[in-house]
């Protein structure tokens, strides 16, 4: 199981309603249902993944989060989860606004472009970084708006989005990120998970 999903599951209370935007094959939803008795719904773009979810008995809507989030009413979920896709939207700001409208709280994870290996790759090799969390080359990456943990942190402050918790993941270690340790955590976390409201 992905460490990221474990962290997300730990952030969620039991018996709540969760919308998983970009739910993939439903792994996270299955985990949340099993461990937290959560009422989970998914939105997924890729047809093959949609079917995998359906076969598992998960509730999933085939659709594009960029254009189809409007179908979900205001505050209709306790939590909305967006795992590693914010950077792939044409307009991440609009999507994030929509997520905050639909969910009472929002959990967003991002691959951290500020991670030291990413930085050194660009600095020493002069090439766009390819890592486990950023496996694509510059010409076929779905990521349009890469950002760092620090970027998203500042973005939330600027837009008056309440940051309830930020967790950094590096391999199997997790740590809480605060204003005071933001610089170091931004350097040593592969992934950042934000709990916003």
């Amino acid at each position: 199981m992905k460490k990221e999903f474990k962290v997300i599951a730990d952030l969620l209370p039991k018996n709540v309603r969760v919308l998983d935007v970009g739910c993939g094959d439903g792994s996270l939803m299955s985990l949340l249902i099993k461990e937290k008795n959560i009422e989970a719904r998914g939105l997924e773009l890729i047809e093959e993944n949609v079917k995998k979810c359906i076969y598992k008995g998960l509730s999933v809507i085939e659709g594009n989060a960029e254009t189809e989030l409007h179908q979900f009413p205001n505050q209709s979920f306790d939590f909305v989860v967006l795992s590693q896709t914010l950077q792939a939207f044409y307009n991440p700001e609009k999507v994030l606004k929509d997520l905050l409208r639909i969910g009472k709280s929002v959990i967003i994870s991002i691959p951290n472009f500020g991670y030291w290996k990413v930085r050194t790759s660009l600095l020493f090799f002069g090439k766009m970084p390819i890592t486990k969390t950023l496996p694509n080359t510059w010409y076929n990456t779905p990521n349009l708006h890469m950002c760092t943990i620090k970027d998203l942190f500042h973005f939330c402050l600027e837009k008056n989005i309440k940051i309830n918790k930020v967790i950094g993941i590096n391999e199997n270690r997790t740590s809480e990120i605060k204003k005071s340790n933001l610089e170091t955590k931004n350097l040593f976390s592969k992934l950042g998970i934000f709990l916003l409201s």
Partner: protein
């Protein structure tokens, strides 16, 4: 045809049914068929609603037409809806012509077929009649109910009118109301029938005949709308029908013409022209939001049923957008809804033909719902 209808299963509904047109009927027949066995826990029943020209003979060989059941691709032993596992029920809609109470049945008041004296019925009337069948068969709660096209419209109506009667539902290629384009196409079909002099204001039965030409044209309209532009082009193109050159006449030179004529006139053998009028009218009147002051959100309020809406990418009769509107309404009402669009060139017909991705999705959903329903029921 009627003599062949005597041996089919019929339920006499004695409970009075108040129709939407305000007439009350009682003691009328609902013809139906079942496949597979209801298990001891009664958690394996699936109700299928048929489309405009369908009937109760979903699978196997239709005993009246001697042809394969209309949904033999999806229903049967080992099929997506596996009759070794599930108990499948399908009833001929009222207004139909496969043994259920319809315009060609005898009106006890006049001792001759109803013809246009048959009341104008609605999708809701059809569904209410079918609910009685569930009581008769001892099915309190269905595992699943499904249907495509008009079958899907009946299903949505069924879920709204009887919110707790099915655990899950798969509306296929349908919408919550009939669009202007669909009403227009239905009107074309009706006009074709009524323009046939044999129709005689619906009294053709007196001469023991049918407005064959009008009915065949009506069916041709349907067949064009069930295919996609691309599918039709690939299937027929400009191919000629068993000839090397044009005949410079109005015979069926092109294969597509021959196909339409064949489909049109084959239909005449098994369907009643007045039934087409009544059933298409019921489809046109269908509008779920009109039944509720608060619109669709109100209609779907408190739904416990788990929905899977399926659309087909090349369906221009009930487009993906229309199907998605149903999903949006269900979502807005807080219902549990899944949605999948099947990418195919086969048009609206996709649910009736062998479309593997569709069948896999249908099977995957129903099987997973069965596990959930068992867990809910047997604990």
């Amino acid at each position: 045809m009627s003599d062949k209808l005597e041996n089919i299963k019929k339920l006499n509904i004695s409970k009075p049914l108040l129709l939407d047109c305000k007439q009350t009927v009682k003691d009328f027949f609902l013809a139906y068929e079942t496949y597979g066995k209801l298990n001891e826990f009664k958690d394996n029943a699936i109700l299928v609603f048929h489309a405009l020209t369908g009937d109760q003979f979903v699978s196997g060989i239709n005993p009246v037409t001697k042809k394969e059941g209309w949904w033999v691709t999806a229903v049967g032993p080992g099929k997506a809806i596996d009759t070794n596992k599930y108990f499948v029920i399908c009833a001929n809609v009222i207004g139909g012509c496969m043994g259920s109470w319809g315009p060609k049945e005898i009106d006890k008041k006049t001792n001759e077929p109803y013809g246009l004296n048959f009341p104008v019925i609605t999708i809701r009337d059809m569904v209410k009649a079918q609910e009685t069948l569930l009581d008769h068969l001892g099915v309190e709660k269905l595992l699943c109910a499904t249907g495509g096209s008009m079958g899907g419209m009946q299903l949505l109506q069924f879920c709204v009118t009887f919110p707790n009667r099915t655990f899950s539902a798969v509306p296929i290629a349908c919408g919550t109301s009939h669009s202007a384009q669909n009403i227009a196409l239905n009107e074309l079909a009706r006009q074709a029938i009524m323009a046939d002099p044999v129709w005689d204001k619906g009294k053709y039965f007196k001469k023991n005949t049918q407005p064959k030409n009008g009915l065949a044209v009506a069916r041709m309209v349907g067949h064009i709308s069930y295919l996609s532009e691309k599918g039709m082009q690939e299937k027929f193109g400009r191919k000629l029908q068993e000839k090397a050159d044009y005949e410079f006449s109005f015979d069926a030179d092109f294969q597509v013409e021959s196909y339409l004529r064949h489909q049109g006139y084959a239909f005449v053998e098994r369907f009643d022209a007045n039934s087409v009028l009544y059933i298409t009218r019921a489809m046109d009147y269908f509008d779920l939001s009109r039944q509720f002051k608060g619109g669709l959100v109100e209609a779907f309020k408190n739904q416990k049923t788990k929905f899977l809406v399926i659309s087909f990418s090349s369906d221009w009769l009930y487009t993906t957008k229309e199907n998605k509107d149903t999903v949006i309404a269900l979502n807005a009402s807080g219902a549990d809804v899944s949605f999948a669009e099947i990418k195919t060139d086969k048009g609206h017909d996709s649910f009736l033909v062998n479309e593997p991705e569709f069948l896999k999705t249908l099977k995957g959903f129903i099987d997973s719902m069965h596990i959930k329903f068992k867990n809910e029921k047997r604990i």
